[in-house]
């Protein structure tokens, strides 16, 4: 029965969107971090998804084609803003601190998009569940 694939695929999407929401939460939580060098400054993280093109079996679990996987988590390449704050304990020898390059507005947008996608997949699962229940009831008629 192919309906079970829907549960698996939509489930993988739920997991992926949750990771995306977690990443956004982490970005927002670290948005006011400061650091003494450009390399150490907190960079906003972004989740990149990929589609499974063929069924894959890992252990006793089968992941169906079309499921989503997290390919990698990339860092925003925007240079972190630099400000002069010699009183800050993490300032470098010239008195500059590097803030995180997190843009709160785009994080909020990202979070809303992830939660909408999550809801969409929940709806898919609900509909598939109802269809399966109705199919089971055919013989009861």
């Amino acid at each position: 029965m192919s309906m079970e694939k829907i549960f698996s695929v939509a489930g993988s999407a739920l997991a992926g969107q949750l990771v995306r929401m977690n990443t956004t939460a982490s970005n927002l939580a670290n948005s006011s971090n400061t650091s003494g060098s450009e390399e150490e400054a907190f960079k906003a993280k972004r989740v990149v998804f990929r589609t499974l093109v063929m069924d894959e079996t890992i252990g006793d679990q089968t992941r169906y084609a079309g499921s989503i996987h997290i390919q990698n988590i990339t860092e925003d390449p925007t240079p972190p803003p630099k400000s002069y704050d010699p009183g800050n304990p993490s300032a470098d020898e010239d008195g500059y601190v590097y803030q995180s390059n997190v843009n709160e507005v785009s994080e909020m947008v990202e979070m809303t998009a992830a939660s909408r996608s999550y809801q969409n997949n929940i709806e898919v699962i609900n509909t598939a569940k109802q269809m399966m229940m109705r199919t089971l009831e055919v013989m009861k008629a």
């Binding site: 695929v9 999407a13 990929r50 992830a114 969409n120 997949n121 509909t127 269809m131 055919v138 008629a141």
Partner: protein
């Protein structure tokens, strides 16, 4: 005789379940860069399942029918393009999924009608 009990509805039901599966893949991959939205060409697959248009493979050296290779899947042509190459248009996919679910239910109702009919015939009421 038994395999013809449900007529076209048996094939139609599995095809409609598969279409829902393909559409749910699209919804799941709405945020995957480069993903191309797919759909099932109902007319094409149904005519193929009913034995029209498909090639029969009676020998191991025969090439499979093109329908058997793509399972009747077609790429959806998007109304608008997106920067990351993803062609899933969420509103459209949701509408399609809702319609597919409705069609699935309609086929179920037809099937249920058959089951009820046969049961009544067996009881001899």
């Amino acid at each position: 005789m038994l395999d013809k009990l449900y007529g076209i509805h048996e094939n139609a039901l599995s095809l409609k379940a598969r279409r829902m599966e393909v559409l749910s893949n699209n919804i799941a991959n709405a945020d995957t860069p480069g993903y191309k939205a797919r759909d099932v060409d109902f007319q094409k697959v149904l005519s193929w399942q009913l034995g029209a248009g498909g090639l029969e493979t009676t020998h191991s050296g025969h090439l499979a029918s093109p329908h058997a290779l793509d399972n009747g899947q077609v790429f959806t042509i998007p109304y608008n393009t997106s920067v990351d190459g993803n062609t899933v248009e969420m509103g459209l996919e949701q509408a399609k999924f809702g319609k597919a679910a409705m069609e699935y239910q309609a086929t179920l109702d037809f099937l249920q009608g058959r089951v009820t009919g046969y049961k009544r015939a067996l009881k001899g009421e």
